[in-house]
Every structure is written in C-alpha cells, then in structure tokens.
Amino acid sequence: MTNKVIDSTNSENSPLSSSREWSQTGLRQLLMYAAVGCVAGAIIALQIGIMRIFSEGSWAHFGSLVVSLAMLGFGLTSAVMCLARNWFERHWFGVIAGSLAAFAPLIVGANLAAQQLPFNPIFLVSDALQKWRLVANFAFYLLPFLAGSLFLGTVFLRAQKVFSRVYFADLLGSGLCGLLTLGSLFLFRPDNLVLVPVVLAGIGGILWFVGLGSRKWAIVIGLISIAAGAIHIHLPGAAKISKLSVSDYKGVSYARKFPDSKQQYEGISPFGHLEVYSSSYLHFAPGLSDNASLNLEEMPANAYLGLYVDGDGPIGIMRELSDKDTAYFHYLPMIYPYLITTKPKTFVVQFGGGISTMVALHSSSNVTVGEANPAFLKAFRESAVLKNFTNDILNRVSVIPYDGRLFLANTSERYDVIDLSLADSAGLSNPGGFAIVEKYSYTQEAMQHYMHALSDAGILSVTLWNKEEPPKSVLKLFATMAAAARANGDKDISQNFFVASSYLSTVTVLYKRSGFTAGELTKLREYTSAMSFDEIYSPGIKVDLAKADHVFKDFHDSIFSADISKPGSQIESTDQEPVAEGSTSEISTQTGAEVGTNEPAVDGTALTVPASLLSQIAWQALIHDDWQGFSKRYLFDVRPLTNNHPYFAAYVFPKDLPKITDRLELFQDEWGYLLLWATLAIACAAGLILISIPVIFGWRTAFSRYPGKSQTILYFACLGFGYITVEVGLIAQFIQALSNATVSASVLITGMLVFSGIGSFVSDKYAHSARATLPKIFVGIGALLISYSLMLNPILNAIGGLPYAVRLICCFALIAPPAFLMGFPMATGMGILTRLKKESMFLWAWGVNGCFSVIGAALVPIIATSFGLAAVIAIAGAAYLIAIPAFFGVLKPINYKINSIT
C-alpha cells in the first residue's frame, strides 16, 4: 500500500471523522464514485444474469425466487455490520479489499458450482432432494451478493457524510449498468453472461484502488478478475463440466436428442436465445381434428422446424406446402374464420412461428402480421434456411414490426379476419409451470380494439390451448371476449359468437360484429360436427342448465374433496344422466366425404365431457350477463383479463391456498404464482429476523437510547417497499406501450435508478431543511403515484400508437417526475441518522430498506393478480404517504438523558 492510501489502522472510531478517503478531491474522488457505481452495477448485472441462466437452464420463476432471496444478502450484511460496527470501522480497508478481491471469483465459482448441482423443478414436490438442491443453488448464488453488499455496506459506513452522493453513484451505476447488461445480451449467450458482472466487479475494484492511490491493489484486483473470467471460459471445457446445465425436461433438450436433429439457426439478444432445429421427429398440428386420421391420406412429412426461445418450445415453423399437403389445414381449428369468408383481408395479431399466418396465406387475398419480438423477425428475415423453408413468408405478407394489438388500436384500416392463435403460449405438456406474465394481447381492451378494427362483416378468431382440467384460462378468455363485445356497445351478444373446442386440445372463439347468418351457422356447425369438435356456443344452442350444480360440485370436489371417485361408477347425488362420452361426429368411411350432423352436442342423449359442459354453461352465463353468478359458483378465479389485470394466472383464490399444500402437483401450471407466495413467506420471515437481530443484540449498547425505532423501521420499510413496488409495477404496465418486457425492464430500471440518483444528489441541498421539505416531497410522490394508478392505462395506450422513439421518450418523461422525487427520502433519511449520530441505525436502516425491497418485489405480482396493476402503484403511493408521520420519528434526537439514567 502506498503512503497515499488511507491507513485504516490509524482511523478513529467515529465514522464522522474517519472517512478521510471520501475527503479527497478531483479525479480520485470521481474514480471512487465510479467504483461504487460499477460494483452496484455488477450486482444488478448478476441479478439479470442469474435470471437469464435460470430461464435457459430451467424456468425463469425459479430464478426470480433465487435472486429475490439472494438479495436478502443485503439484509444479512447490514445486520452483521450493525452488530460489529466498530470492528468494520477499524478494518474497513481489509473488508473492502477482501470483498472486492472475492467478488469476481465468487460470481464465477458460485455459478459453476450451482451448474454442477442443478435441481429439477418437476420433481420439486415428489423428491425431497430437489428442495435441497434448490436451497444449495440459493446458497451458492448468495455468496457473491454478500461480497457486493459487504463492499457497499462498508463504503456507506465510511461515507455517511457524503451519503447522498455515494447513493447517487450507487443508483446511477445500477441504472446504467442495468442497461449495459441488457445490451450485452446481444453479445453473450446465457452461459457466458456471468462475465458481465465479473468485468464490472473488476473495473469497480480497479477504480476504487486507483482512486485510493493503491496501484498494487488495483493490479491485484485486475488480475483476480481476469483469472476469474478465464476460469469461467476455460475450466468447464478442460474439466468437462457444464457451464450451464439445461434441464432434460426443457423442450430444446428433446430436440437435441432426436437422431437427425440439426441446429439451423441461433440468435442471441435481450429478446431471448432463439434456436431453430430441424428433425423428421418434429410434428406440429395444434388442435388437429381426430378425424384427420379417417379422411386425410397422410400428414406432410418433414414439414416443420422447431423454434425454441430460451430452451422452451417448440414453436412450429411450417414449410411452404404443396396444395396436396395443405389439405390438412382443413383439420386445424385456425381454419374456422376462413370457412365463412371468401379471400378475406386478414390480420394476424402475432406472427410467432407463422403457422396461423401460413393458414391465412392459403385462404386470404391479403395478409398483414404483427410481431413484437424483433428476434423472431430477424430470424425469418436473415436466416437463409428459414427463408427457403417458408418460401420467405415475411416477404409475402405485410409486417407490422411491433405489437399487432397496438397497431389495431391505432389504425383506420379494417380487416375481414383478425386472427389470434395460440400466441405466447406453451403446448399441452410443458412442465415446470409458468411465470406470471402480462398478456396484453388477450385483454378486454385489446379485444375491443380487434373488434373495432373489423370490417362490417369481419370476424375475430381467437384460438387458445384448452389444456386445463378443471378449465381455467379458456373461461377467462370467454369472459374477456364477452366483456369486450358488451363494452363496444353490443347489448345483446347472443348472435355474435360461435365457440367450439376439442377436449384437452384447443378452443376457438369466433366473434362477428354483424352477427352470424343462418347459412354461416350451418356451415360452422357442420364443420364442428365433422371434425368431432365440441360445440360450446352458437346462437340458439340448447344447454341443459339443470346439470350445472352437478358440474360445479364435481369440479370443486376434484380438487378440494377428501373423496376419491370410483371409476365406472354412477354419479351420486343427482338424478341427471351421467355426464359421459365426448361429443361425436359421423364420417363415412366409404366415400371419405364428411357427413356431419347439425345436432347440438348436448341434447340429452349425446352427452359431453364435464369440461365442455362447463364451457357451455359459462357461455349461457355470459350471454345472460351473469358472469358474476358463474364466478361465485366456480372453484377458480376466472375474472376477465383487462389492462389492469392482464394475467392468465393466479386462478387459485388466496383463501384456498392452505387447502392445496398437500396436492401441489395438481397445480403445476401455477407454480410460478405459488413460488411468489413461498418467496414472500421466506422473505417476510428472514426479513423479520434480520431486522430484529441488531435491535435485540444491540439493545444495551445503542438501540435502547434511540427514540423512534418503530417509526424508523416504518420509514425505511416504506421506502424499500414503495420504491421496488413502483419499479416492478411500472415494468409490467409499460409493456402496454413498449410491447416488450425486455425493453420495458430496460427503460424502467435505467430511468428509475438514474432519475432517482439525480434526486438523491439534489437532495443534499435540502438536507438542512428536510423537516419542512421532505413531507412535501412525500405528498408529491404520493399524489403522482396515485394519479398514475388512475390514469396510466389510457395514457400508455395512447403512447402505444406513436413512433417507437417517441414512445421511449414519453416513457422516460413519465418515469422522471416520481423517480426524481423518490431519490430524496432515502438519502435524506440516512443523512439525518448521520447528523443525529444514530450510527448503529445507519446500516440497520439500509438493511430494513433492503429486506422490504425483497418483500415488495414478491408482493407486487400477488397484488397485481389479486387487485390489479393500478392497485400496485396506488399502494406504493400510500406507502410514501405513510412515510410522512414515520419521518418525524427519524428526526427524533437521541435521548442521552435516558441513557445516562439507565
């Protein structure tokens, strides 16, 4: 160490006089601020990296769980530092040097170790070992977060006098490095993504020691980081260990095992890791009628490529087929709208892998497609293989290179057919559950836009997987479409819908603005019957509602009852016919011609499966505007999707959660949601312990003489909770305008943190008048957030119609006011603790803030799925208002009198 370095052994105990390293000026000081920014940025980069690694290797929601809990490392660090503050004061240099030296190796080591111990989510319930593997993953990934938080905690401890500036550097670094990391996704595959935090940690360490004047330490940190990076790059190959273990149960793992499989395309970007495989073993025909086996000569061979995004899939890419081979289109449910239209002008809301576009091309005069994921468009435009295979499909249609929903909301064009088929959805047998994802293409508002964009005789066709038993998502779709029709002014919607499904396959809802004609209904019914599909709703359909009680009870019992049903036995408790065989159709085997019956599926003799009967009952409720009555009787939450509540998820009512703990496998598709509750429970328990430890163990030395402890907890809890709630909530909402979750996350992370950093920096000027100014700031934040919760939806929808660059500017403009103000309270509060010499509370407050950030992050999707996204922002606003009275507790000076008496 050179003599320019602050000698930690000579430092005094008081933090106010010991932070001489922060008394430097000029470039060196700047380098140290930059170092804080880089390390904070490395932590953000590591979070994003781990999320991506889990997305690729297993499933993203497990990554959320691990990252959220690993962030409790901040709480743990603050608790330890709070208890041993003096020790950290004395050994600050060693702690900082050690944490910086260990940071990069821990990132690499933890990741490689975790990859050698992959856990298998689908056995999480049945195999106790898997839970321990998940715990081990968490423990490994916690380690680098501990190193990072130890550095930041020690820096904060030493920089109390200039906290607002250091905090500014922390936020600014996090924001910019978050953006940098998302940009780096264009360069790094998920298996190499940990190199980004390694580089940032290395740069941070070098800058820190250069700032301090220690060239030797700067070189050491640089060499350690380079070594860590080299180990990540070379060790797995040399030792034949995995850099990123991909679960055998991911779709891409199967594709890779097919004997003739070949990777035809690979693209990396923030929009996902795209891979396309060819194999004769790939077969797609979503919703194909069983009757294809009777009338179709043969299915076209080698007709598909499998597209995988982050290892999930496949999404089918269809080869341009000969006229003979396209005969099988007739047996796909996507053909429905084309049965009653002639060469329509068609809009496909989401291109995806292009199957419904291919069907549309063969039946339409003109096809326009929307696709919000630029990586998909890039693949189809740039890959020679894909272009050849699909006969350059994108060149044969008009492409809207963003969300079809936003285009239709803002266009004066009118279409004869608007198709939304199986968008954003996984197939029938995908394991691992689904994360809570906003589905703005399926909301009531989106459906209203689609309906508006139809020509006078236009048809909206929506096809969804019908894969749940008891039904869940299809009921939400039904309710959403009916609500949209009513919101568009159709008082009587009985003539506007036709719905057909295939049991445990797909469901298709057709909406016609002007109502279906008798001739059209005949065609649709004949086709439905000839395909062995179930007729769920058509104008005039007869449904025996007397069976409703039985169906509701049976579905409820299938999940919640203690009884087990007996195979083949008659159904008890009702006088109804047993609800038995699936609806059928008759096909002439002699001629191959279709001889469908026009009889409705349910007529007392032709019985249908309960799921189909339930759907029929659901439509009767919708036609008679009694969805509330239906919902009250059903076991799951089937409220329609709206822009405020855009989720095909969280079907289990929170009150029922305790009842399902012994049957979690029945809810595999809900694991993403259930994991949030688990995260919340663990975060609350861990947070409580971490917050309590310093109070309990520091009671005699410090806390007993600190007045306003509970208000201080409340203050920093509100800040931690409020901030993360706004950030996560707005990421979800801004997708509405920005069409893409990755872009929305980039804009929000960068915008929020940078503007808050500026706020933090500016807050310094008002530090001495905080008692008067901060309550006003809080009122401003609360008012802004509550007004955002009320008005954001229509504003974002309007922004969605603007050119993309303008959209981005508008979004940043929306973020700036609250984010700027939200930068004030944390820095001001910490500054006050410093000025009042509540040193023990300083780090503790930082930990409280961190713990409630984790709790808030887990709570946001739970609030959003239960009460809506507007409620999320409003609750965050309320949290900032609650912080006003708590703030006056933070301002209470230490009562030395009490201390001296005790």
Partner: protein, 289 residues
C-alpha cells in the same frame, strides 16, 4: 451431429451406471399366463413370489403394500391388471439411484428428460384399457419399459416404440437382462427405436394403443392403426400432473366411424395425481380424511 452422438454415448455410459444390478438368482419357475400369485394375503403372496419368481422379499412386500393402496383408490379395477401389477418387478425398471423409491406413489426420473410413471398412473391407464389376453397392444414411448412389462403380463402381443435412441437401447438392455434371468414373458414385448408418430404399420391394426409422451395432437397414423372398436389412451399435461384422454373408435350401424374423446373415467372428473400415501398398513392422506 457428431457432437450430439458423442454426448449420447457419454450419457449412455453415465446412465448405464444407474441401471439396476440384476439379482443373481434365476427365476425358479417358467412363466405361464395362467400362473396367479395369491392375491388376498401378503405373506402368501411374498412367499409364493419368492419361491416361484425368485424375487427379493423386501420389494415384494413394498409391491404388496402399493397394490393394496391402488385397489383402495380404484386404480386397479380388473383382475388381469391386478395380477400384472403383482407379477411385475418395478424395481428392475427404475434407476439404481431411485431403487428405494421403486414403489413410492410417485413418478421418478430415468434420465433423458423422461420419467417412469407412478404405479397409480400405470395401473389406472392399464385398467381403463381393459386389455384381454388376445389383444394386440401398441405402446408409444417405451421409456423405462415398466408399462410395456405390465402389458406383457396380460397379453403376448405387445409392441413398443421409443423415440430416444440411447434410452431405447438401454431399456432393450434391461429387457434382455431380465429375459436372460428367466422372465420369458418379456420375449413377447417387441421393441424398436423409431418415431412413434407413425405407429408400427407392419404390426397394425391394434386393439389398444397407449401413448405416454406429450404431443399437441393425436397422430393420425395411430388412429388409423387402431382397430374399429379399439381404444387409445393418451395422458395430456406435464409429467406428474397429467389428465388422461381416452379415445374410442367405433362403428355405427350404418358403417360410419365414430371417434370420441373423453377422460379415462367416462367423463367423470377425477383427480389424477395421488394425494394419499401408505404409512405402515394404513392409507393416509386427503382421501380418507
């Protein structure tokens, strides 16, 4: 491509380490389709099987306990399937690492992203198929070989196809091993590695077809190879949380063909995933609260 094959070879070498070690004793008594173990007494069953089949009494005891649970839960509903369950050594088809869980009420990992279904699932699907001695049965998705071995105890006409080559080879090895040991009934299980999507045309038509792998539609070729009057069973959904689709192909009096979808309990809503477990001799869990 070469890399993929190398990976397979490597994986195969690794996985083969987990294939259960075959018991050393040969099967004392040759198999016949009319041999029936005692089905109403645990001790008698264990003794009979140990004497006639030379199997480990520890596993036989576990098999009997699971058998009782399956009967109580109505997963086993006909005599031929009950007998097949009791006669099939499930422990031979699980990986060594999972051997102690052979008779747990759970699906187990067998590598390659494939599971061996739980005893409840196999029993229920086989019961529903109601296979007769004369039936020709096709299985798509051989996997561990356990399902086809159950089938092999009911009929001597079983065909099974596995798409994953190293798994197909491994399971063929398991079969060859136990056939060599004396389980001659498994000689009637015909295996091949191929894409099950196209069925087994040379052996068609089939009375019953059981598909045990996920797909977004029913392969038309399989429906074609199903006899009129036949039945097909397909579980739909992720491993461990599947709903079982039953497809029947019947002739109407006028010669037309009727294809119907329902679930395996003729439309009844039933929870497919077990909630119960056996503790000692008692079944505990939500079903008998």
């Amino acid at each position: 491509m070469k890399y993929v094959l190398k990976k397979f070879t490597f994986a195969l070498t690794l996985v083969s380490a987990f294939v259960p070690v075959l018991a050393s004793a040969a099967v004392p008594k040759a198999y016949t389709y009319d041999m029936v173990p005692p089905m109403d007494n645990k001790e008698a069953f264990v003794e009979w099987m140990a004497t006639n089949r030379g199997e480990d009494k520890k596993f036989l005891s576990q098999r009997w306990d699971r058998y009782q649970a399956l009967i109580q839960r109505n997963d086993l509903t006909n005599e031929q399937t009950k007998r097949a369950f009791l006669m099939t050594p499930r422990e031979e088809f699980v990986r060594k690492i999972s051997l102690t869980h052979s008779y747990d009420d759970a699906f187990l990992d067998i590598g390659f992203g494939v599971t061996i279904s739980g005893p409840h699932a196999v029993s229920r699907m086989t019961s529903v198929l109601d296979i007769q001695k004369t039936d020709k049965v096709l299985e798509i998705g051989t996997g561990s070989g356990y399902q086809s071995s159950i089938l092999g105890h009911i009929t001597d006409k079983v065909w099974t196809i596995e798409i994953i080559k190293p798994l197909a080879e491994r399971t063929r090895g398991v079969y060859d091993g136990i056939i060599a040991k004396g389980y001659t009934e498994y000689k009637n299980v015909n295996t091949k590695q191929a894409d099950g999507y196209y069925g087994w045309e040379e052996a068609a038509p089939f009375d019953k077809i059981i598909v045990t792998c996920g797909i977004d539609h029913i392969p038309p070729a399989l429906l074609k190879q199903l006899k009129t009057g036949g039945m097909m069973i397909i579980p739909v959904g992720p491993p461990g949380a599947q709903h079982v689709l039953k497809i029947t192909k019947e002739a109407n009096p006028d010669g037309t063909i009727k294809i119907a979808r329902s679930d395996i309990y003729n439309g009844r809503v039933v929870p497919f995933v077990p909630f119960t477990k056996l503790e000692g001799d008692a079944i505990v869990g939500s079903h008998n609260k």
